[in-house]
Each structure stands twice: as structure tokens, then as C-alpha cells.
């Protein structure tokens, strides 16, 4: 018995010795995977070269990011630095960065696009520094346009123009379609089309859906989308276990596809002669795009805040921004020095950014996620054309009012 105890004690001693390491280890959590994750690791590598006493441990949470993050907050064992997007939900766990930014010589918020800063603020406190973003654009296959003798999208094109082009480009017998539309779009992304028709899901004060989600303007958007599919100038793509729109675009089976910047490099690699256009406008309203902002934040409970801030500063430096090729730089000075303003492929993303002034619903009502549980299948139903969008959206409004009041 004594021997066993001795062995156990020895084992424990060894284990605890093994955990002792020299210097400080910062935990950095990201939702990236694959190539984009490699970028995060490269940035961390670069930082460690400059700061040998700090070790960065990159933790890839992938698609389970929110679950893991919430669990780690709950267990009071969260990563020191993390990617962040949903500030209203997590701000209570994040360090207020205002004082850090004030003293910093590296981070100057005036150098950041104003539209992006709205996303990282809660009650006028800054809880994160934007480090990358994308707006949505329409990718089009130039070769398919040429072959069909259709003009490329004009600078200020309209939804009618898109409909017309899509009809000319499609050839249902060969399973070629003018445009690919998501059959089950993420409600967060889809709201941009409502904005582009001068409406939104929810009232600006975040209190009601009535007269917004079920307004004539909203219903018109759903009808227009469905019309494309009914006319066979468009096809529904994506969804679980279905081929993604990007893959079909790469196979030259759809001529236009709306998305963020993510697949652009893949299209080029696949040899597609790809063009980039801004989103079309509805009824003369200015087109609006949703924004996907990746910001970087610090955990309130971190024991190494000084080092964590050092990493955040580095993360927003020119050096790191150069490595971040999966999305777009957020600092005006870098956009200039990287020559992005002259880049015809990237310029439309910034045009959409300059037009963006809408506030997404999740920032307007703290219970939005639950409303989305009703909304998501409803949008899908409208896209599938199972019932009239007016009836579907009226139903969602009625079902969801209870959730908005809580």
C-alpha cells in the first residue's frame, strides 16, 4: 500500500513539474480553420520571434467557437485573447479597451473605418479592435458573360438589371443558371437585401418586427428572389449535404454568386475569370451590404493583460495585416499603402463598406438569436416558395413578439 502511495505521489510530482514552463503563455482562441487558421499560426509565430518570453498558444475552436467560448467563460478559464464578433452577448466578459487604446502608440482608432467600429462598441465602450472584415459583393464569371453576349454589371446596377442578365445567362437544359441563391441563407447575411430595399427585420429601437419584417418592401425582396428561381434564371444552392454555391460557381454552372471575400482566391485558383461587382440596388435605394467583422478582444479575467494587449497591438500592425490575406485590412493607412484602392477586385468591398450604415438586428435586441430560430426556417420556406412570403412573415412576426419583450 505504501509503495502504491509513493508511486502515486511521484507521478503527481512529475506531472506538476511538467506543467511548469518558463515565461508566459497566452491563449489565443480563433474560429478559423484550414488555410485561415494557418495565417493565425503564422502571425503568432511572428509575434513570438519578436517577444521570445511570451508563448502564444493558438486554440482553434472552429465551428464550435461560441459553445467553447461560453463554456470557458462559465468555467472562468477563458483564453486571454480571442476572436470576437458578438459583442452584445459577451461584453460582460471582455476587458474594456478604451484606456489601453488611449495610451497606445500603435492603435489609433481614427485610422479605422467608422462603420467597423460600431460593431465593437457596447454602450460606447470599446471591447475589441477590428482586425479584418468583409462586405458582400456579387462575383460574376466574365467568360460566361462573354459567351452569352451579356454586358458586365454596370457601376450602379439595379435588381432589374440583375434579373434581366440572369435570364439571358441561364440555360436550364444544360443545368446552367444565371445566378445561385442560397436556399437556406444565414438570416444575419440576408438582412442586407432588406436594407437595400430601405427596410429591415426589426424597428430601429429593437422593439418590434411589425411593419418591418412583414412590410411590403421585405415581402417584395422575397418575391423577387423567388421569381428568379421560378423563371429558371436562378437556382437554389447550398444547405446541409448539398453542393455549395462556390463549388457550382467554380464549375461554371452559375454565372453570378453573392458572397463575402472568402472564396475569391479559390475562384482564381480554379481558373475562373472572375469579376467583382457591388450589390444591386432595389427601387433606387442605395445598396447595403452586411458586414462580417473579425475583431480581437481580451478576457476580463486574464492574468496577463499587459502581454495580451501587446499581442493585440501586434495583431493590428502592418506586419500582421500583410499575413492576413483571408479577409480585408481595416486600417485606412494600410488600404492605401497596400494599393487596394486601385485593385478592381477589392475596391467593390470598400465601396460597400462606405455605403454601410445599417445596424444589424442582433445589436438592436439582446434576444435576437431566439427570434432567428423562427426567422431562419421562414426565410428558407420563402426561398423554397412553399407559401406566400407575406403569410410566412406575418406568422414569424406574431410568433416572435413574445421574445422581443423579454
Amino acid at each position: 500500500m505504501k509503495k502504491i502511495i509513493f508511486v502515486l505521489v511521484a507521478c503527481l510530482a512529475l506531472i506538476s513539474c511538467g506543467q511548469k514552463e518558463q515565461g508566459i503563455t497566452l491563449r489565443f482562441a480563433t474560429w478559423d480553420s484550414g488555410d485561415a487558421l494557418k495565417i493565425q499560426q503564422d502571425i503568432a509565430e511572428e509575434f513570438m520571434k519578436e517577444n521570445p518570453s511570451i508563448k502564444i498558444q493558438v486554440e482553434a475552436y472552429g465551428s464550435g467557437f461560441d459553445q467553447k467560448l461560453v463554456a470557458s467563460f462559465g468555467a472562468k478559464n477563458a483564453p486571454d485573447v480571442m476572436y470576437m464578433w458578438d459583442f452584445p452577448t459577451y461584453s460582460s466578459q471582455l476587458e474594456n479597451l478604451d484606456s489601453y487604446i488611449k495610451e497606445s502608440t500603435e492603435v489609433d482608432l481614427n485610422d479605422y473605418y467608422g462603420g467597423l467600429l460600431n460593431y465593437v462598441k457596447v454602450d460606447n465602450n470599446t471591447y475589441g479592435v477590428p482586425s479584418g472584415f468583409t462586405t458582400h459583393v456579387v462575383f460574376y464569371n466574365k467568360d460566361m458573360f462573354d459567351a452569352a453576349g451579356v454586358k458586365y454589371p454596370s457601376k450602379n446596377w439595379t435588381w432589374d438589371e440583375l434579373t434581366e442578365k440572369a435570364a439571358k445567362l441561364s440555360n436550364p437544359n444544360d443545368r446552367v443558371y444565371g445566378i445561385g441563391l442560397l436556399g437556406k441563407p444565414d438570416p444575419y447575411d440576408f438582412e442586407q437585401f432588406l436594407w437595400s430595399n430601405a427596410t429591415s427585420y426589426i424597428s430601429p429601437d429593437g422593439k418590434t418586427l411589425k411593419g418591418y419584417l412583414n412590410s411590403n418592401e421585405s415581402v417584395e425582396v422575397f418575391r423577387e428572389m423567388r421569381k428568379l428561381v421560378d423563371n429558371k434564371s436562378g437556382i437554389l444552392v447550398g444547405g446541409k449535404q448539398q453542393q455549395s454555391g462556390s463549388d457550382i460557381f467554380k464549375a461554371s454552372k452559375i454565372a453570378m454568386y453573392e458572397n463575402g471575400i472568402w472564396p475569391l482566391n479559390g475562384y482564381k485558383k480554379a481558373g475562373i475569370n472572375v469579376g467583382v461587382a457591388i450589390l444591386p440596388s432595389f427601387n433606387g435605394n442605395s445598396p447595403k451590404s452586411v458586414m462580417s467583422v473579425s475583431a480581437i478582444s481580451m478576457w476580463k479575467g486574464s492574468e496577463n493583460k499587459e502581454e495580451a494587449w501587446k499581442f493585440i497591438e501586434f495583431y493590428n500592425s502592418e506586419k500582421a495585416a500583410k499575413l492576413r490575406v483571408a479577409d480585408l485590412p481595416v486600417r485606412k493607412s494600410l488600404v492605401k499603402s497596400f494599393g487596394i484602392e486601385e485593385n478592381v477586385e477589392l475596391k467593390p468591398f470598400y465601396e460597400m463598406l462606405s455605403l454601410a450604415d445599417s445596424t444589424p438586428s442582433f445589436l438592436l435586441n439582446s434576444n435576437w438569436k431566439e427570434v432567428q430560430r423562427n426567422l431562419s426556417p421562414a426565410i428558407e420556406e420563402a426561398m423554397l416558395g412553399l407559401r406566400d412570403p407575406q403569410i410566412i412573415m406575418d406568422e414569424v412576426v406574431e410568433k416572435s413578439e413574445r421574445l422581443l419583450k423579454e
Binding site: G74, S92, Q93, G183, K184, G239, Q241, P377, L384, L386
Partner: protein, 317 residues
């Protein structure tokens, strides 16, 4: 002398007490890893979840006691609760009978001692070895609208197959078929039950001139009824807890048509982080399964035949 004897006796007694203690203790020590695991990782969390269900319990922030409010919300305010319950009941209603019939038919076929039945036994069982994730991926390909093998086969006989996973009217059936595919374990249990039926019964029936149908109805089914009871119960439990396939194959879609109860509970907990509410959901599911199981057990006296009981009755008679 008397005294010394007494002492000896006492000593012996002491030793024996110690020995008894040790003898009884050792087996407990052997099962201790399991017992501890059960207490700490099964029973403990199970009871704790009941406590949680009376709280508003977000992961971030502090839990507050709200009594029966979670249950009230579930029954009277949340339409999704009833919808998901209905979807799951529909799934179970189709899945349980189908699963049992398919497993039973395959077992009956395998019970014939023909050449190659071993190979088929392996083939039929193989899907049960595959993990739920792989199963979902395989069926994702099979059901694919444009490129799926199922619709290809249907097209060769001139049928335009539906969009299995994209059409709300078909998705539940698609899930049932994919689930039934993994029936192998049930088939093996049936097969074992079939092998246990004494041959004499069939021989006697043959002499009496019984045909295949009546042999099945009057010998096989009654003799197999305890096995059927077991399979019905495990099948019901499995159907109500179906999560992985919904999560991976359809994600609850299309249009929420496969948003099973288990997925609803999962989302409440890990997507909306309402631990208390989701614990209440889970306990209600537990009560449903418990009462269904009890119902099946109660009814079993009417249709389950136990050989041992029969012989006792005979002796008494």
C-alpha cells in the same frame, strides 16, 4: 487454560471479522472505478440537472431560482416545444414499427441455413459499426438531389426522385430510412432469439400439417415475444433520442421539418445557453420515455409469452 482459550478464540474472532470485512470490501474496490464514475459522471449530473431545471441558468452570469417558470414557458408559451415534440413523435411512430419489422424479416431470412448466410449476416450488421457521423455523410451523398445514387436508380426506372433532404414532406422519411439502415444490432438479437426456439415445436407442427404462416404466427411470434418487447423498448428510446442524424444530415431543416426534440434541447443548451430551460426540456423527455416504457411493459402481459411461466402454469394445472 480457560482464559488462554478464551483469548485464542477472541483472536480468531478478530481475525475473522477483519477477514470478512476485507472479503466484502475487495469486490467493492474492484467495481469502484465504475461506481465512482457512475456517481460523479452519471447520477450526480442527472440529479443536478433536475435542480438546474428550476433555475434561470445562463452560463455567463448568475443563476436565479425561478421555480416552475421553465416548465410553464415550455408548456404554454413556446410553440417550438410542441412542434418538435410532434416531429419526434411522428418519427418514432414510423421508425419503431419499420425498424422492428425490417430487423425481424432480415433475422428470419438469416435463420434459414443457406449457403452464404454468414456473409449476409456480416453485411447486414456492418452499418451498425459505422459511427453516426460517417452514416450521415454516406446518406448525404445517397440522398443528394442532383448527384445522389438513390435518385439515379429511381431515374433508371423512370421515376423522378424527390429532393430527399430539401423537401419538407420527404425529409422525415429520409431520416427514417437512414436510421433503419443501422438496425444490425436489433437483427442479431432477433436472430439469437430465433435460434433459441426449440426445433421440436416446429417438428410437431410439421406432423400436424401446419403451413409456414401458421408456424410463424403460432410458434415463432409467441416464442420471440420477449425479444420483441426488448427491441420495442430500446427502439422507442433510440427514436426519441435521435440527435446526431438530425444535426448532421439536415441540421433540423428543411423549414424545420426535422427539428427533432433532442435537437431542440441541444440548441436551447448549447446555442442559446439556456441551461435551466433545456434541463426542463430534457426531464420532460425523460418522463415521456419513462411512461411509454411503462406502458409497453404493462401491456406486455397481454402479448408477451414466457416459456418459464408456461411450464409453471402447466405444473399447477
Amino acid at each position: 487454560m480457560d482464559i488462554s482459550l478464551d483469548i485464542k478464540k477472541r483472536k480468531r474472532k478478530k481475525i475473522s471479522i477483519f477477514k470478512i470485512k476485507r472479503d466484502t470490501l475487495v469486490p467493492y474496490l474492484f467495481i469502484m472505478p465504475w461506481i465512482l464514475g457512475f456517481f460523479f459522471f452519471t447520477l450526480g449530473p442527472l440529479l443536478f440537472s433536475l435542480v438546474i431545471s428550476f433555475f434561470d441558468w445562463p452560463i455567463i452570469g448568475n443563476p436565479t431560482f425561478i421555480g416552475l417558470a421553465n416548465y410553464k414557458e415550455m408548456f404554454f408559451e413556446d410553440p417550438q416545444f410542441w412542434k418538435s415534440l410532434g416531429i419526434t413523435a411522428k418519427f418514432a411512430g414510423i421508425f419503431v414499427p419499420l425498424n422492428i419489422s425490417v430487423a425481424l424479416i432480415l433475422a428470419l431470412l438469416l435463420n434459414n441455413n443457406v449457403k452464404g448466410s454468414g456473409i449476409f449476416k456480416t453485411l447486414f450488421y456492418m452499418p451498425s459499426v459505422i459511427s453516426g457521423v460517417a452514416l450521415a455523410m454516406i446518406w448525404g451523398w445517397v440522398y443528394s438531389d442532383e448527384y445522389g445514387i438513390l435518385n439515379y436508380f429511381l431515374s433508371t426506372i423512370g421515376i423522378q426522385g424527390p429532393n430527399w433532404l430539401g423537401d419538407p414532406n420527404w425529409a422525415t422519411f429520409a431520416m427514417v430510412f437512414a436510421s433503419v439502415w443501422g438496425q444490425g444490432t436489433m437483427m442479431l438479437i432477433f436472430l439469437a432469439g430465433l435460434k433459441n426456439i426449440p426445433k421440436e415445436l416446429y417438428e410437431a407442427a410439421d406432423i400436424d400439417g401446419a403451413n409456414v404462416v401458421s408456424k410463424f404466427m403460432y410458434i415463432t411470434l409467441p416464442m420471440l415475444s420477449p425479444t420483441i418487447l426488448f427491441n420495442v423498448i430500446t427502439s422507442i428510446i433510440g427514436a426519441f433520442q435521435q440527435l446526431s442524424l438530425a444535426l448532421l444530415l439536415t441540421g433540423g431543416g428543411p423549414v424545420g421539418s426535422t427539428y427533432f426534440y433532442a435537437m431542440y434541447v441541444y440548441d436551447n443548451a448549447f446555442k442559446y445557453f439556456k441551461m435551466g430551460y433545456s434541463a426542463a426540456n430534457a426531464w420532460f423527455m425523460f418522463l415521456i420515455i419513462l411512461s411509454l416504457t411503462l406502458l409497453v411493459f404493462k401491456s406486455s402481459s397481454m402479448w408477451v409469452f414466457y416459456e418459464s411461466e408456461a411450464t409453471i402454469k402447466k405444473k399447477k394445472g
